[in-house]
C-alpha cells in the first residue's frame, strides 16, 4: 500500500474529518464562544451589543453543527471499523484497532477507558452546546447583559470544552496506537 493510499483511504479520511475538522472545529468554536461571552459581558445595550450577540449566536449554531457532526460520524462511521471483529486465524490485527489494542495489556486501557468514555461523553457535550446555542439565538443581547443567564451559559460551555478536549486527547492516543488505515 502506497503512502497516498494510507493517507487517503476512506477510513482515514473519515477519521480525519471526525477528529480534526469536526472535533477540532468544535473545540475552536466552543473556545471562541466562551471567550466572547466572558469578554463582552459588559457590553452596553444598543446596536453594538445586538451585532455582537448576533455573531455569537451564529458562532454557536456553527459549533453545534460541528459537535453533532463529530458525534454522529464518530458513532456511525468511524466506530464500526474500529470495533470490527477479525476473522478466525488472522494474526495481523492492524486492520482491527479494538482487537489490536486489547491484545496487549499495556494498551488495553485505551479501549476499556479511552474508547468506552468516547462512546458516550461527546454526546453530553453536544447536548450542552445545543442548549447554550438555543439560548444565544433566542435571547441575543440579553445573554450578554443578563449576568445570571450568561453565567449558566459560560459554565455549560466550559464543561463542554473540557469534555471535547478530553475525548479529543483520548482519540489521539487511540489513533497513535491503532490508527484506522
Amino acid at each position: 500500500m502506497s503512502h497516498y493510499d494510507l493517507l487517503f483511504s476512506s477510513r482515514s479520511i473519515w477519521t480525519m474529518l471526525h477528529g480534526i475538522f469536526f472535533g477540532g472545529g468544535s473545540l475552536l468554536g466552543v473556545a471562541a464562544a466562551l471567550f466572547a461571552l466572558i469578554a463582552l459581558r459588559a457590553a452596553p445595550p444598543g446596536d453594538a451589543a445586538a451585532a455582537q450577540s448576533r455573531l455569537i449566536a451564529w458562532l454557536l449554531i456553527g459549533t453545534t453543527l460541528l459537535v453533532w457532526a463529530a458525534v454522529i460520524v464518530g458513532t456511525y462511521v468511524t466506530f464500526p471499523p474500529y470495533r470490527a471483529t477479525p476473522p478466525e486465524g488472522v494474526i495481523d490485527l492492524s486492520a482491527y484497532p479494538r482487537s489490536l489494542i486489547r491484545s496487549d495489556p499495556r494498551s488495553a486501557w485505551l479501549h476499556s477507558f479511552a474508547m468506552e468514555s468516547k462512546e458516550h461523553i461527546p454526546w453530553i457535550a453536544a447536548m450542552l452546546v445545543t442548549g447554550v446555542s438555543f439560548v444565544a439565538t433566542r435571547y441575543r443581547a440579553r445573554l450578554l447583559t443578563d449576568d445570571r443567564l450568561r453565567r449558566i451559559a459560560v459554565s455549560l460551555l466550559a464543561l463542554a470544552f473540557v469534555l471535547i478536549a478530553g475525548v479529543s486527547f483520548l482519540g489521539v492516543l487511540i489513533n497513535k496506537v491503532a490508527p484506522l488505515e
Binding site: P45, G46, A49, A50, S53, V71, T75, Y76, F79, P80, R83, A84, S112, F113, E116, S117, E119, H120, I121, W123, I124, M127, L128, T130, G131, V132, F134, V135, R138, Y139, R140, A141, R142, T145, D146, R148, L149, R151, I152, A153, S155, L156, L159, L163
Partner: protein
C-alpha cells in the same frame, strides 16, 4: 421594538428550560451507560455495526428532547429563579459525566 428590547422582554423560562434539559440529557446519558455496563438495562442496538452505543445514545437524546419540550412548554412564559436552576443544571451535567466514566461502572458491575 428593537431586537435588544424584544430579547429583554422574553421571560427567562425558556432559557432555563434549555439549560436544565441539557443537564437532564447529560444525566440520562450517564445513567443509561452505567445501567448497561452493570447489566441492569441493555438498550438494543439501532445499527449493528456500531453496536449498543447507538441505542444508548439515541435513548438519551430522546429523553433530552422530551424533557426540553416539556420544560419549555411549562416555563416559556415564566420568569424563574436562575441561581437554583444553574446549580441543578450543573449538578445533573456533572453527575451524568461521572456516571459515564468506565471506572465508575466497575463500582457497580
Amino acid at each position: 421594538m428593537t431586537t435588544h428590547e424584544s430579547s429583554q422582554a422574553i421571560p427567562n423560562g425558556s432559557a432555563l428550560a434549555a439549560f436544565t434539559a441539557a443537564g437532564i440529557g447529560a444525566f440520562a446519558m450517564g445513567l443509561i451507560s452505567l445501567l448497561d455496563a452493570a447489566g441492569v438495562f441493555a438498550v438494543p442496538a439501532l445499527y449493528d455495526p456500531a453496536g449498543g452505543v447507538t441505542g444508548r445514545t439515541t435513548l438519551a437524546v430522546l429523553i433530552w428532547l422530551i424533557a426540553w419540550w416539556i420544560l419549555h412548554a411549562r416555563w416559556r412564559n415564566r420568569d424563574l429563579e436562575a441561581g437554583r436552576m444553574h446549580t441543578i443544571a450543573i449538578l445533573l451535567a456533572v453527575g451524568g459525566i461521572v456516571l459515564a466514566l468506565p471506572p465508575v461502572w466497575s463500582l457497580f458491575g
